[in-house]
Amino acid sequence: MSELKKRVLTGAVVAFAALLLLPLAYAGGANESAKKTSKPKVAVVVKTLTGDVFQLKMAEAARDRAIELGADATIYQAGGQTAVQKLVSILEDLIVQKVDIIVVSPLDSKAVVPAFAEAKKAGIVIVCMDQTAEGNDFVSFISTDNYKAAALGAEYAKKALNGKGNVLVVEGAPGSSVGDQRRDGFKETVVKGSDIKIVGSQSGFWQNDKALEAAQNMLQANPDVDLIFSCSDVMVGGILEAIKMAGKEGTIKVISFDGSKFGVNLILDGKIIADVAQFPVKIGKTAAETGIGVWNKSIKVESLARFIDVGTTLITPENAKSLVDSAF
């Protein structure tokens, strides 16, 4: 080989080696800066922001609190009350984007399990809010204790019915752990120590018109109903329409769940007798605080409660006026 060729070859090998080693130097620096940075990337993931004021307020509260605490926070939505697949793909995208904290209200407690496992492996802190998931890959679940809250509604129902009567339940979408807890909390409590019978329990799919149809059909099957429990304010409008269309306005009492402004106004209008209130803003804030706290190690995961109950209030005609302004 000629002298020139040897030099060129050597030069090329050295340059190539330098190129290989360069990323190492850069990566080392990047790692150091990553540890020093205190701006975590927070992703707030909910099923929808549209037509569901609860999810909207909760998501905004989580994002705003995270930003207050010095994080970069963005809200992602799956775009529908049953858009499970989309929610899972959002989670998968977030893992690829290497976010630090995911604050999420999983639509379906089972479908998100694989994505959660992957996220945990990638070192992402997951906090569940409003709805929980199966498994152990999230650090905490912050919500209303939906079972206990619905039980509060059931106690009021028992009082309102003097311990006897026929009751219908309009449930949430199938597969929703939140909906199931509210249904079970109400159903199991309302029959304890009373002569109340649950004559029908069907799904309203968290949608106004589907709830209308379910209520309409259940009223057709049971002409003698005294009270209907709606698992959410988003469905209670349709239920009231169904009662009206069956000509039973005024003869059937209605209790709802959520404590939204719409629900409280219905109490003030005398259309429903009670609404079990949730505090989506408190849930969102606490979820963001928990996520960031675990991430920057100011909260010890071992001492963190598995479930944080943000509490509930029963709104009735007695206290509705004072609570309407703070309702979400």
Binding site: G51, S201, N208, D209, A221, N222, G237, D269
Partner: protein, 336 residues
């Protein structure tokens, strides 16, 4: 023997759905005394109306073949619902309709609100039609894009919030009765009859079927394929807007998420009704019957208080069985 069974089989293949409706109805009636009464039967048909109205247009779309489908009708239902509502509520109510409104509006306001809502739906359909006929996008892709876009615009226009409480005339469209028959049923029937006549008795209808049968042949025989496709999708958008307005009156609530998933049920009704997804043949009557069958199943499940976990699998199985039956019948006809 064959001459006797052939017309019978033809009749069955067209109106086999009617047999299914009767059979399912008999089963439910035996299981519950409350199923077979006039009030409930009217409820079933009313509950089928929204999907029924959607299925009239969807039948035409699917008959045009070449992958003809419209995934955006659900979103058009939503966008027309909130467009109408936003043009009805006074500006001060925007973002703040969290109580049951009982607005009394002038006829002019109502006409404008409904008119614009219908226009928006037609425009969405026309955009679909243009992308499909002029740009050559596959209908699945074009209408999927519209589905997402329309939903997004609906959310923006309404600030993501529902409007509770519609003016009386709108509520009448959804809950009122004329001569004892609920308005949604009347609207579905009128649109169904018009659709039937257009499809079977007009040159336009014949062209639609020809396009679905063999697009090349249709083009060569002088049919203006592009223009007809545009009209079919635009009409479908218009019908979806009508469904949106009726739905808004029925539930007395305008909602940006209105009509979610209804495109799938509309397609299901059309398929169950006997229209082939390959295009070139089908019928409006079958689609309406398909919508009624689906509403009947849901109604029966609610009345018998069957756990909801069984409802969606039941409807899904129904659709699959119907398609299988349809394919099996076609194969038998071909082999003869």
């Amino acid at each position: 023997m064959r001459r006797l069974t052939e017309p019978a089989r033809q009749y069955f293949s067209q109106y086999g759905i009617l047999v299914w409706i009767v059979v399912v109805g008999l089963v439910f009636s035996l299981l519950s005394r409350r199923f077979l009464d006039l009030h409930n039967l009217l409820n079933i048909v009313t509950q089928s109306s929204i999907i029924g109205i959607l299925s009239v247009g969807m039948t035409l779309v699917i008959i045009t073949g070449g992958g003809g489908i419209d995934l955006s009708v659900g979103s058009i239902v939503g966008i027309s619902s909130v467009t109408m509502a936003m043009l009805i509520i006074p500006p001060s109510y925007f973002r703040d309709t969290a109580s049951m409104l009982s607005l009394s509006v002038t006829t002019m306001t109502l006409v404008k609100a409904v008119g614009v809502a219908l226009l928006v739906g037609t425009a969405c359909g026309a955009v679909n039609g243009l992308f499909i006929s002029r740009v050559g996008l596959p209908p699945f892709i074009a209408t999927l894009g519209m589905m997402i876009t329309a939903r997004g615009v609906a959310a923006y226009v309404s600030a993501g919030m529902p409007t509770y409480g519609m003016p009386k005339p709108i509520v009448f469209l959804g809950q009122g009765r004329i001569g004892g028959i609920p308005l949604p049923i009347l609207i579905m029937l009128v649109l169904g009859v018009i659709g039937y006549f257009v499809l079977t008795r007009t040159v336009f209808g014949a062209s639609v079927i020809a396009i679905g049968g063999n697009r090349e042949t249709a083009k060569l025989s002088g049919i203006r394929v592009k223009r007809i496709l545009l009209i079919v999708y635009a009409l479908n958008g218009l019908l979806a807007a009508v469904a949106g307005i009726v739905l808004t009156g029925y539930g007395n609530q305008a909602h940006p998420e209105a009509g979610a998933l209804s495109e799938l049920y509309a397609i299901g009704a059309v398929v169950v009704g006997g229209t082939s997804l390959m295009g070139g043949k089908g019928g409006i009557i079958g689609s309406l019957l398909g919508a009624i069958l689906m509403a009947e199943v849901q109604n029966g499940i609610n009345i018998l208080n069957i756990p909801v976990a069984y409802m969606q699998p039941a409807l899904g199985t129904l659709i699959v069985l119907a398609v299988m039956l349809d394919q099996w019948q076609k194969r038998r006809v071909v082999s003869e």
